[in-house]
C-alpha cells in the first residue's frame, strides 16, 4: 500500500512538475530568444522522461524490438532527434548542466581531436560494447544464466533491455533494481547490465563507479556520455541513411565565422563552423538546435526538413532573464 501511495504521489509530482516546466517554457519563449529552444527541449525531455517512466512502470512492457524499430524510424527522418530531445539519460545530464550553470562553474571541453577520434571510431566503440558481455562471460561463465549470444540478440540478462536501449532506463524501474528505497526500485542506465554481466559482487562496485564517473563527467563535460553511448552510435549509423532527413543548412554569405555555433554545441560538433555552407549532415549532431538558436545573424543557419525550414537563426539580442 505504501508503495502504491508513493507511486501516486510521484505521478502527481511529475505531472505538477511538467505543468510548471511548461509554463516556464512559455514564459522563456516569450522573453528570452536565446534560451527558447533549449527550454522547450528540456520540457519535451521531461515529458518523454515521464512517458517512458510510465511506459515501463505502469503499462505492459513493449517488446524492445519494436522500440528499436520506432527509434530507427525516427532517426531516418529526424536524425538523432531522440538523443537531443527524448533520451532520459540525456535529461539527467542536462539537469546536471543546469545545476552547474546555476553554480557558475565553467564547463570543460574535451579536445576536438579526441572528440573527432571518438566519433570516427564509433563502430569500434559499438563493437566493444557489444563484446563486453561475451568477454565477461568467458571470464566468469558461472554467473551467466543465458548465453551471451542471446544477450547480443538484443535480449538482456535480467531485463528485456540490453545495451542498445539502456539510456531509456529511467530512475524508477518496475523490476528489482539495484537499489530499493521504500519499496521503490531505483536504477540507472547500464547499471543493471553491468551487474548482470559481471556478477553481483564485482558488478556492484563497477556499477557504483560507473554511476560516479558518468555523473561526475556530465557535471563538467556537457553531454559526456553521449560521446560514447552505444545507442547514440547505432542511431548515428542509422542517420547516415540520407533520404528525407533533417539537416542544418548554412548560408555562407551571411556567416561571419564568429564561432558561436562551435562554442555552444554541447557535443562539440565543429562541422557547422568549419563547413563552407550548404547542407551540414554530421551524424555527431543531435539536432538540439542550440547553434541555430544562438547564431546572431538572421537566416545564416536554418534547420531544414526536406525543403521546409523548421527553425532559423534570428536576431536573439535580448538580454537574458533566466538568472
Amino acid at each position: 500500500v505504501a508503495g502504491e501511495l508513493i507511486g501516486d504521489i510521484l505521478r502527481l509530482t511529475v505531472l505538477a512538475g511538467l505543468g510548471t516546466a511548461g509554463i516556464l517554457a512559455i514564459l522563456i519563449w516569450k522573453k528570452n530568444l536565446a534560451m527558447r529552444v533549449t527550454f522547450l527541449r528540456l520540457v519535451i525531455q521531461a515529458v518523454a522522461f515521464a512517458a517512458i517512466f510510465y511506459m515501463y512502470t505502469y503499462s505492459a512492457l513493449i517488446p524492445m524490438l519494436y522500440e528499436l524499430i520506432v527509434l530507427f524510424a525516427i532517426t531516418i527522418v529526424l536524425g538523432r532527434y531522440f538523443c537531443g530531445w527524448l533520451c532520459p539519460f540525456a535529461l539527467i545530464m542536462d539537469i546536471e548542466s543546469l545545476v552547474r550553470r546555476a553554480l557558475k562553474i565553467r564547463y570543460r571541453i574535451i579536445p576536438d581531436r579526441l572528440n573527432k577520434a571518438l566519433h570516427k571510431s564509433r563502430y569500434l566503440i559499438l563493437l566493444a560494447f557489444l563484446l563486453i558481455p561475451v568477454l565477461l562471460w568467458f571470464l566468469d561463465p558461472q554467473e551467466l544464466l543465458i548465453s551471451p549470444l542471446v544477450a547480443l540478440r538484443l535480449a538482456g540478462h535480467y531485463s528485456a533491455y540490453s545495451i542498445l536501449l539502456d539510456p531509456l532506463i529511467t530512475l524508477i524501474v518496475p523490476w528489482t533494481g539495484p537499489i530499493t528505497v521504500a519499496g521503490i526500485n531505483l536504477s540507472y542506465p547500464y547499471v543493471q547490465n553491468i551487474i548482470a554481466y559481471t556478477g553481483s559482487e564485482v558488478g556492484q562496485y563497477l556499477a557504483i563507479s560507473f554511476v560516479a564517473i558518468t555523473l561526475f563527467g556530465a557535471f563538467f563535460i556537457r553531454r559526456a556520455w553521449c560521446r560514447f553511448c552505444p545507442t547514440g552510435i547505432s542511431l548515428a549509423a542509422v542517420s547516415q541513411i540520407r533520404g528525407l532527413r533533417v539537416y542544418v543548412d548554412k548560408n555562407e554569405e551571411k556567416c561571419t565565422k564568429c564561432g558561436v555555433c562551435k562554442r555552444v554545441c554541447p557535443v562539440q560538433v565543429t562541422e557547422v563552423y568549419e563547413q563552407k555552407g550548404g547542407k551540414i549532415l554530421t551524424s555527431q549532431c543531435m539536432v538540439c538546435a542550440r547553434c541555430v538558436e544562438m547564431c546572431p545573424y538572421e537566416d545564416a543557419l536554418r534547420i531544414k526538413l526536406g525543403k521546409k525550414t523548421v527553425f532559423r537563426s534570428r536576431n536573439w539580442l535580448k538580454p537574458s532573464n533566466d538568472e
Binding site: R101, D112, K254, T256, V260
Partner: protein, 447 residues
Amino acid sequence: MRKKDMTKNVEKKFLPEISRKEMDELKNTVKAASLKIIADNIERMKKADPHRPEAMKYFDNIANLFGQRQEEIQAEKEKGKKVIGYMCLFAPTELITAADAIPVRVNSGWYDTSKLGDRVVPVEVCPVIRSTIGAKMIELSPFLEQSDALISVLTCDGMTKLSEILADTKTIWGMNIPRVKDSTQSLRFWNDEIKHMKNQIETFTGNKITRKNLKHSIEISHRATKVFRRLQELRKGNPVIMGRDAMLVNQTYSWDDKQRWTEKAEALCDELEKRAANKDWVVSPDTPRVMVTGTPMFWPDNWKLPTLVEEGNPQGIIVADEQCSGERILNDPIGIDEWSMDDMLNAMSERYLMASTCPCFTSKDGNEDRINWLTTKVKDWKVQGVVYYVVRGCMLYAMEYARVKKALDKINVPVYYLDTEYTREDVGQMKTRIEAFLEMLNARIDL
C-alpha cells in the same frame, strides 16, 4: 608596464619637443577650424534632410568633440573614474566598462593635424596614424588627452608603431592580435590576451571585474547592438534617414555613454519607423543606393566622401557601410552560452577576433569573411553601387580591393575605387569622380 609620471619631464623617444606657446597656438587654430567644420558638417546634414528626425539633435550635440561629452568625461574623471582609450575596435570595451572606467575611441579625423604628424613619420604612412600623432603633438584630441591609458591592438603596421609613438606620453597596453583568425591556437592566444587585459584593467583601475559587472556591461552592449540592428533594418527599405546621419549615430557610440546612446538611438528608430509608415522618404526611392567600404572615416574632418555622395548631382544615398568607423562597431553581438566568467571571456574573445571583418586578417580562404559579408550587405540592403574608399597609405584595404572587385563583379554590382588623402584640396576632383559614378549608377537603374 608602469604608469609614467606625467609631471616629470620624461624623455620623448619619438615626438619632437614643442614649446608650450607654439603648441597652444597651433591647438587653438586647429580647434577653432575644427569647431567650424563640425558646425558646417552638421549644418549641411540638416539641410540635406528637411524633416531631419528630432532625435538627431542629441547626436549633433555629442558629435561636438569639444562639447558636452568632453565635459562629462572630465567631471567623471574628477570623481575618480579612469578613462581608457583605444584605437582599434578589438579593444574589449566591455571589460573597461565592467571595471567602472570609461572607454573612448581616440582615432583622429583631423586633416590639419596629419600635416603635423609628417614631422614624426614619413608622408607615406596612413593619414589616420599621422593625424593621431599630430593631435597628440598639440594635445588637440580631448579624448586622447583625457584617457589615462590606451589599449592599442596591433592590427596594421601603422597601429603598431603608433602605439610606440604615443607611449612617449601615455601608458600603452599593446594587444597582440593573431593574423590567422580561424585557427584554434590563434583563438587560444587571443583569449590569453583578453584575460591579461582584464588583469591589467583591474590593477590599473583598482576595481575588480566581477562576473556580475561583466554580465551587466555585456548586456549594455547587447542592447546597443539591438538598437543598431533596428536602425539597420530601417535602412534596408526605402531611405528614411540620410546615410551621413546614420553614420554619425554609429560613430558617436565610440565615445558616448553606451546606455544613453542606446536610449537616444531607440528614440531615433521610433521616429524613423513613423516616417517609414508615412512614406516620408528622405530622398526619392530611386536614388542610387550606395555602400561605402574601406578605410575608416573619422568624424569630424574626414566626412567629405559621404557629403559628396549625398550632396552630389545626381544624388546618391548611402544605405550601408562596411567600415570600422561605422557598422563594424556594433554589428556583432557577444554570443554568451552560459553566464560564467569563463564563458563570457571566451565569447568576448571570439566576438572580437573571429567575427571581425578587418582586412588585417587572413585565414584558410584569405579574408573570405569580409567578401561574404560584403556580398550579404549588397544583397540585403539592395546596394546598387559600392564605393571602395582608401586613404593613401592604407595598405591592407588597398590590397584587398582586387578581390572585392572580382567578388562584386560576379554579382554584377559596380565598385569604384576612390583613393584620397587627409586633405581638402582634392574635394573638387573627388566630386567629379563621384558624380560620374553616380551618373553611371543612375543609367544602370534606368536600364
